[in-house]
Symmetry: C3
Subunit: 419 residues, 3 copies
């Protein structure tokens, strides 16, 4: 017997911006919608009409739909409805909403990734205003924060969020699942202009290659089909990769992983899983992971990518977080995951360039400008030659310092006069 009733989404007193939908397929009788919502007066009609539109899109003519709404936005309603439909009928159709203009941008390989906020991939309430916290990146997580039985519906919600949620300039990231499920997850994120994919429990270059190949295939298929609702050539937009090292085997292969693909731009360590793999307790001193952390910094830097430290679990202890960030930066890490918005400013400021770095960067840029003015082929600071990547790095530091108001945008003019 074919299943004829399905449920998706969440409801309950603590649920916000979500809805729970129960769909029952019928032989006849048309569409019946039973809507419970505090905002029924205001949005009842638009909820009903979107529901009908989506059911029609999937060719459903007779069904009873029960919606318990807790303030779901259209992208959430659409995701939940598509989820229940796909539990009952087999279809390749996708009900895609507009990719908003703010989400059509691409990011660059070397942009800073000091902080990135983890959001559970099936909790829309946390997604809507996440961009306001000014993290460098926002991660929609399909892995550990989503219960196994919710993984399918999370994919559709994340897909819709990538198209509809304004990230206010944060890099738009998704953490896929491990193994084969992770590769399947890609079909739900790659066509929707995700900027960066996090690869959890990465242990081999082979898996990176498989991810890379799958992304290539998806893009290729996509470019043959109708190209979204924008003239966005996905083949020209990079999807960056950030493997997360969470096992001893991952540590052993970290250098190879870091350079497994030109799209790998950063490599993170996940200490909760890493210490579990080692069978040790995670301590604040961190002797048990010192080797792994320092090795990952070196592996990442050797491959020319950013080393990213593990999240700090105690969201209540800001002082310890601050010390943790300082220690992390002192070892060479260039960022850290956040599991609560309040961690973001501490992490952003902690990894920000310090006085010493800003001063050195100024000197490098000034030396470079001077050499250019004098038509010299070689740039030197004192007796030391300076090559172009060093100049580029100095420029990034100065840009960030200006953004963080640690430096006036016109700082260079003052110096030019003195020169």
């Amino acid at each position: 017997m074919v299943q004829s009733i399905a449920i998706a989404g969440n409801s309950g007193p603590r649920v916000r911006s979500d809805c729970e939908i129960t769909l029952e397929m019928k032989e006849r009788g048309g569409i019946n919608i039973d809507l419970t919502s505090k905002v029924k007066t205001l949005y009842g009609e638009s909820i009903r009409s979107l529901t009908i539109e989506i059911l029609e899109f999937f060719g459903i003519k007779n069904a009873s739909v029960k919606i318990i709404d807790s303030g779901a936005l259209p992208f959430v309603l659409a995701a939940r409805l598509e989820s229940v439909i796909k539990q009952l009928i087999d279809t390749d159709l996708e009900y895609l909403q507009e990719l908003i203009i703010e989400n059509t941008g691409s990011t660059t390989r070397n942009r800073y990734r000091f902080s990135r906020l983890y959001l559970p991939g099936n909790t829309p309430g946390l997604m809507i205003n996440a961009g306001l916290h000014s993290a460098d990146g926002i991660i929609l997580d399909l892995e550990d924060s989503v219960a196994p039985e919710k993984k399918d519906e999370a994919r559709i919600l994340v897909r819709n969020a990538l198209r509809q949620v304004n990230y206010y300039g944060a890099e738009r990231m998704v953490r896929i699942n491990q193994g084969d499920r992770g590769l399947e997850d890609l079909r739900f994120v790659i066509p929707h202009n995700v900027n960066l994919v996090l690869i959890p429990k990465c242990e081999s270059t082979n898996y990176i290659k498989r991810v890379e190949e799958e992304i290539y295939n998806i893009k290729k298929e996509q470019s043959l089909s109708l190209n979204l609702n924008l003239n966005l050539n996905l083949n020209l937009i990079p999807v960056f990769l950030m493997p997360i090292i969470e096992t001893a085997l991952g540590v052993e292969n970290s250098f190879e992983i870091a350079r497994a693909s030109k799209d790998v731009v950063a490599m993170a360590i996940g200490l909760e899983d890493y210490t579990a793999d080692l069978g040790v307790q995670r301590t604040s001193e961190g002797k048990e992971s010192f080797y792994a952390r320092t090795r990952i910094v070196v592996a990442a830097k050797a491959a020319g990518i950013q080393p990213i430290d593990s999240v700090f679990s105690d969201v209540g202890d800001m002082d310890s977080l601050k010390q943790n960030v300082q220690a992390s930066k002192a070892l060479g890490f260039e960022g850290m995951g956040c599991i609560h918005p309040r961690q973001i400013p501490v992490i952003q400021n902690g990894f920000a360039p310090d006085e010493r770095e800003i001063e050195k960067s100024k000197k490098i840029i000034l030396a470079f400008e001077k050499a250019k003015r004098q038509g010299l082929g070689v740039v030197a600071l004192g007796t030391k030659m300076i090559d172009l990547p060093v100049v580029a790095h100095a420029n990034r530091i100065i840009e960030r310092a200006i953004r963080l108001k640690l430096l006036y945008p016109d700082w260079i003019d003052t110096f030019r006069e003195e020169d």
Copy 2:
């Protein structure tokens, strides 16, 4: 001129359970035995008859035998006698005593190896009751604890001990010598159901391969010849390998060594030799070996085998040993060698699963049981999926906790009711 007189074994006021035998080959006159022993009245006759039996076995008809006995058991007397005989005549014969039923067992890849007691391979007095100390393993050492001129006789003694000494359930291990001599040592231990071979100063996968091949060859020959005195199919019984890393080169190749053979189940570090190779002094803080130790933990875990820490030399200082074990476990080591029986309980308890590990293991096992009862394909703890190796590991922790009386054997029943 062919040598006609030989000596083997030990005598003297501090020697126990050993004997010194001097054999002189004669042209005529039959067998003359000159026995000195405190237990002559009780055992004189059996010593004489065993001596005559062995001489006959090797076809010796005329000889003078001088035995200074200090309470040698038959396996020791037989070993010493075979040693003097083989110094004088060239023979492939081996006088093999019964392989006692307790020594016919095999062990498993993942069993705990918290403690293993080193015994000098040519000192029978220490072997006889070694099994009573409940170490996870007992090592008969042919390498550093045996003087060069005693190495040949130690092989025969170790061979006999493997057949005759009751280990009371401890894993039966032998440390072979380095290089070619180590490969030759294998002929003396592999046919006698050794459970695990320690490979000292291991520096390359190549040597592991040679050991593996030699073991394979010995087993093959053995299975063609009369199969001991038991129906023991050696080809079905694994001989596990534990390479010991004792040099910088070994550290460099540690990951490759750890996975050089499916029979490698653990990898140890030997700090006395390692610090000597580095030309540094071994300190209690251990900064000089921190890199090597943490790297070996990661290499071993990445290869799915047990990382084993170095022995602690000061057998009088139990407090420092205890701290040492705690620090060792905190880094991920799963065991440590012992050079004195009194170290065993400290090491056993130190590496034993702690409260936190036991609690976590319970949760994992309960989640697994529940998922099985509910017919779920996926096991999860919270939102986190749990795979089978994690369940197996939890089971090992629970078993050890029960064995150490840290947990009641029926703990699970209490929980099932609550469920």
Copy 3:
């Protein structure tokens, strides 16, 4: 228009043992020399005649030469003059002075390299008495201590110094530049019996191979041409290599680099550049470089070469230097660069063998001597076998101890009697 005027060398109130030469090529009028020198009365004539000799050697008949002399020795004057000439005319000729007898020696692979003094390659004032400080090695630096626009003239000065400066037994080293310029530098040092070449910012075995090949080619060409002014067969004299690891990529490849060529005898780490590559601040505690330093020690020892630590920058703080050296030796380093002569004795004494090492070496040598006297094939200390590299190492320790007057040269005789 072809350039007709050139300048080389240094002048000014703080310049010693150098000269600044301005050469202007003329159509006619012969050679005009304008010499300013405090030692004009004493050396004016010899300066003039050397100048004329060199101009003639390069076929220059009409020129105006302005020399501001600050006490330049002939090898400096010759270098400066050749530098200005080569800026104006294109020639493969080299004006080579005598290779003094003290500089015709070779060194050995395993000799101690506790201290090596860095000298800027274009500052002759520091070169002349550098050998008096008894460093194990003296480095003429063509890389970071020479400004880009001075690099060409530094090569010629270093070449002349290799031939003419007495190093009083110090190993004669040159640090070449990075990349292709470094390979070109070799033509200026290899034919002049340099003992060891330092390769800065080494990141790959490939570059070592290129250096090795270039050295081979230079030696081959050299052996075909007139062989200097001595019967020195360069092909028989090794040029040792010391790569310097200064980046994360160098650390990742350090083991491969250490064994990339049989001529690599030591590997150093340069922490100023390394911490810059990691983007971290160098601290006195050194947590940020602990992984890299310990990894390099292991990589070097695994390859059988000497690990050398970074220079200590604060030339005024002798106490911290001393602690630094102790910590460095405790980790296994066997030497350290010096940037000031006063650092040399602290470093020499700090790395010198200590009481424990000397005692152990004595025992090893005595055991070896005894085994030799007794005609034994195997040397043992206690039950532990000793192989020949261990004996050789003990001999080196004893030699150094005697040189540092920590041991009487005839120590062994006392023991032999006791034996």
